[in-house]
Symmetry: C2
Subunit: 301 residues, 2 copies
């Protein structure tokens, strides 16, 4: 699965529940990774890891359950930057990763180690071990991913998205193997422009999808013209895309054999099919378990 | 005051209690600073800061009062390195410093900012903004400062001490000003070999002390031939120094106008004087408040 954060995590969890034995690999976006306070933080990798471990914070929608905020509170008292909230337990993940990277381990190594500690039965694969940084030209000037996403709560007009480093990044061997050898490639219902596109821009990924397009299934993250979570709808509008399943299908055109769209968008099925793919219609909103399982079933069938 | 950690912190506190108005500057060793988990940690600067703020952990002898260990505990569960214990509140200091350094601030800048936040009325001056690393050749092979000091609890034979980077380090302007302009220079009762020597090795410091030796007062950290805290006695023996106030006086010979030694070492006064300095004898063990004030008085008189 080409994976962003929450949407991918939920679909991976649903696929695992749907079939305890299926082999699952997540090829994960690293374009929103950041270095803050000296720590290397990988939000999408961690969201997937925490969710699949059942350790995620459902109330917040990010981070870990039973979290406390002692370090951040003190950091605020010291006048430090605390707009990117890092819980005490979550910090241990970033300390672990940062120390291992300083020792010469790759993000791929660290993800494997952490996934084992969290008891995951899904391979957690950063698309690349090279630095990739998604950046935004906005009405407020250039912003890093998390400045845009967290600091400004994605509530600012975006004129352009750049994925710095992607063209020079090397697709990791385990990610390449997963994409080459899996029976099916799923594009998660993540934000096409800022979660999936940074993966597609790593040389080799789009080629593999184009070559294997009959095995590629994409799930539209837009339902009724709106994103379940995050700024996908607004960004697609601002960057000139049609803000519905048809717009998503066009974005992935040539790389996708099957698009899965929500029942509320059933009237778009023909238009989606006209982009050159099969269409499946099902319930896709995974906050309901039965919808999540229906979606997992559609992805597998 | 040329300063290591605990001994210097206690003497600075005593000097402040002795005279609320005296201007105090600590020129602090950075040879035991380390980067761990991506965080820049300055143990001597922080020990002084926490102690002078009254926020130090008296029970542990290091770190902050009311400390908790949630991050470290989880880091241990993740299989991370946790032999260098970092409390939750303490971590906020390191996150703050690391973030500011990444933004281009110097250690001097960060120390000034943190000292203000902690309400200090003592100037907290890293001897240099350049990297200095005290390292040990030991029976277990080469060790970094904190590997030697914390990981192996300084319980290993030391064959040599190296202070990497010191010869190329630039004495910071505020530290130079403090050393040039203060009415008196105090060498704290810190470890001569691993707390004070890294300061003395920064080009300019020994010259200033030699030139101003009549204004330099050193306090012996050895009382009755033993260190109050830490491995000063053992290290002096292993590295061929006499393990008493005379050995300390010889180590600082030519840079010190007055040596202060403890009453229990009164019989060494003549031998200390023979190294070429005045001698004052007083109580120096600062775990007792009256002794600390007597020492402050001796330093000022």
């Amino acid at each position: 699965m080409l994976s962003g954060g929450v949407g991918a995590a939920r679909l991976l969890r649903a696929l695992r529940r749907h079939d305890a034995d299926v082999e699952l690999s997540a090829v994960v976006n690293v374009g929103d990774d950041l270095v803050m306070h000296g720590l290397t933080i990988c939000p999408d990798l961690d969201t997937i890891m925490y969710t699949l471990a059942g350790a995620h914070n459902d109330e917040l929608g990010w981070g870990l359950a039973n979290e406390t905020w002692r370090v951040m509170q003190r950091l605020g008292e010291l006048g430090g930057e605390n707009w990117f909230a890092l819980g005490d337990l979550d910090l241990a993940t970033h300390l672990y990763r940062s120390q291992r990277l300083a020792q010469g381990a790759t993000k791929t190594d660290v993800s494997r180690e952490l996934a084992a500690r969290f008891g995951l039965d899904v391979a957690l694969l950063p698309v690349s071990d090279d630095p990739i940084a998604t950046e935004f030209d906005t009405a407020l000037g250039p912003l890093s991913f998390q400045e845009y996403f967290v600091r400004h709560r994605h509530d600012v007009v975006v004129n352009a998205v750049r994925v710095r480093g992607a063209a020079a990044a090397v697709l990791s061997d385990p990610a390449r193997d997963a994409l080459e050898r899996s029976s099916r490639i799923v594009i998660a219902p993540s934000n096409p422009l800022i979660s999936i596109d940074p993966i597609l821009r790593v040389p080799g990924v789009a080629d593999i999808l184009t070559r294997r397009r009959d095995d590629v299934v994409a799930v539209s993250p837009l339902v009724g013209g709106a994103a379940i979570k995050g700024p996908a709808d607004r960004l697609m509008r601002e960057l000139g895309h049609e803000v519905n399943a048809v717009g998503v299908a066009r974005f992935y055109q040539g790389m996708v054999g099957t698009m899965i769209i929500d029942v509320v968008d059933a009237d778009q099925a023909d238009a989606v099919a006209n982009t050159g793919c099969d269409v499946r219609v099902t319930t896709t909103v995974m906050s309901r378990d039965d919808h999540a399982l229906a979606l997992a079933d559609a992805v597998r069938s």
